[in-house]
Symmetry: C2
Subunit: 351 residues, 2 copies
């Protein structure tokens, strides 16, 4: 009586559990359990049911399943950009990880816009994602939405770009240490006149990289020339402009630590334009690894940020938190980096 019993048209109709159940003369629940491999059901029945489901072209309704189970097995990912090697590589690894762990991942791109980011998080909450991995947009100032998620018992993991927020899960590269390592390496090669083309220091990575730079200089008894520390965006133009500024002022350093790979590209271009050779006239290293660096001339050395680890550790942490939602203690995971040396930052250019 309750079940709709119009005649069944298998041609275009979507097959449901009921259809299978009806055809086999068993109950919906039996089918549901069989298809999910629930131990309740006998081998033979289960086999039969699976076979029939296949034949009928059954495809479980994710919406209905999530609604009933009160779990979507979906995580949300919020990134500031996607058309950028670092982030596209991270999301790639997240997808892979999710696939291996029967999760879906729903990606959202905030375009460095906190307003949009907020809407997207709301959207993800509406979709009842089980948790969220987020790399915050540059201009994030209001943390309320993060609190909201927490209140709704949707765990968050902040990845790479971390807001100043107590009591949250974070996974990030040891940016400060990496900066330190790179500068120390340069100093060991013999460089003294060292610059840092930095990013904005109001976001964690910019700040940390800056701190590591200063510490390495200080620890090695070198003074920082303030003209040589230039804050900018994280892009090509910024690297180009900073270089040109110093060139015009006839105040070029011997070595530059570039805050990102695009910044370094900008430096390459500028150097080429004014007829200076890398690494002989001016040497550099940057943050962030990408295939293309091998094909620059000379191949660009860098501080590797292992995107695979960022992805997998974030996912593990998040899933861990999802599965222990009640008394979970936040974790801060720091990932070690290493230098990848290619054609720059391998010898002293004044020897």
């Amino acid at each position: 009586m309750k079940r709709k019993s119009t005649k069944t048209d298998y041609s275009t109709k979507l097959i449901t559990l009921n259809d299978i159940a009806a055809k086999l003369g068993v109950s919906t629940i039996t089918v549901s359990k069989a298809l999910r491999g629930h131990p309740d059901i006998s081998k033979t029945t289960a086999e039969l049911i699976k076979k029939t489901a296949d034949e009928l072209g059954y495809s479980p309704n994710f919406m209905a399943r999530s609604l009933a189970a009160r779990k979507s097995n979906t995580i949300g990912v919020v990134l500031p950009q996607i058309d950028h090697h670092f982030f596209s590589s991270v999301i790639d690894h997240i997808y892979n990880f999710a696939l291996d762990h029967q999760y879906h991942a729903f990606l959202t791109v905030s375009h460095e816009n906190a307003e949009l980011q907020k809407k997207q998080i709301q959207s993800l909450l509406s979709m009842r994602v089980d948790g969220i991995i987020i790399s915050v947009s540059q201009d994030t100032k209001d943390f309320e939405i993060f609190e909201t998620a927490k209140k709704r018992r949707v765990p968050l993991v902040f990845m790479d770009r971390i807001p100043d927020l107590a009591d949250c899960n974070t996974v990030a590269v040891d940016d400060k240490g990496a900066s330190y390592k790179a500068i120390e390496h340069a100093i060991n090669l013999g460089y003294r006149r060292i610059a840092h083309f930095a990013g904005h220091t109001n976001i964690s990575i910019g700040r940390e990289r800056m701190l590591g730079f200063h510490k390495a200089m200080k620890d090695n008894g070198l003074n920082v020339n303030p003209d040589w520390v230039i804050e900018g965006d994280f892009d090509e133009k910024s690297g180009y402009d900073s270089f040109m500024k110093l060139y015009r002022e006839k105040n070029l350093p011997d070595f530059i630590l570039a805050v990102t790979y695009p910044t370094a590209i900008g430096i390459y271009t500028a150097a080429q334009e004014v007829g200076l050779t890398i690494p002989d006239d001016i040497d550099l290293i940057c943050f962030g690894n990408s295939e293309v660096q091998n094909f620059l001339s000379p191949p660009l050395s860098c501080v590797n940020q292992p995107t695979d680890q960022l992805a997998s550790k974030s996912m593990n942490l998040l899933i861990d938190n999802i599965n222990n939602i009640d008394n979970f203690k936040c974790k801060k995971i720091v990932i070690d980096t290493e230098l990848i040396l290619r054609g720059t930052c391998i010898k002293y250019n004044r020897s």
Copy 2:
């Protein structure tokens, strides 16, 4: 009697339409309608309901909504890669478009693996996406899953990489014409010894680009040297290897049409390695535009593939099909391309 009437705990509980309705002493439907801006509801009631919903921190349950409405307002996107400028740029535009049109977009990356691609499409069907945009993986041979989607009344749009399938929606760049245009330009500059470092011709873009190359040569009375037409992957290594092969054979052409931007990068690297100068010793142009090309030396000219148009036209077509599911006539949309000339392919290198 039907409604659960345990006492309400607003602290962590997720607010539902019922909670709002109960609090206000109206029915669930009234709230539902009010929140969706349905014209049925009076201004005053609607205002009150919206206000209350806000106060309670109501967030609509997307799953329940989709289930009941039998429409998810979500489209699926299947791409072969994401860590690649072309695709990340396309998806970026798709996200933007979706946002502007109250759609969600669910991205899936097949990693050029047809098996995985099939699973992902099944997954998307399970999620009851309203339609799918797909750029097929290189090794796609079995089209059955596409038929399945169609049978389930989930419209498909094939973008950029098109399978040999009758009666389907497609959106693609005019690859053949673009090839033709590029070669013709080179010929007009004065080049005669022209090579094509091609991709696999079993996928549409590889094939079309190859066809355009041959046609342009023929139309201009030039013979194609078979040694100079090399099929390979679409990546750096392929460009590098092809170049080196010809170099070793002392059989280098004057001009190369590279099937992708990474292929061109491989050529740059190889040329540099053997001490040949671009564009003076050997000149080239490639398919695909990317910011980085401005920063190569010399800046690399290309055939632009407008990712924004690919995205928006695909979305428009798909949404159009979704809204007219019953008697929709498939469309084939071709997007015109133009050359972006920078530091290569702008003068004859033997003059």
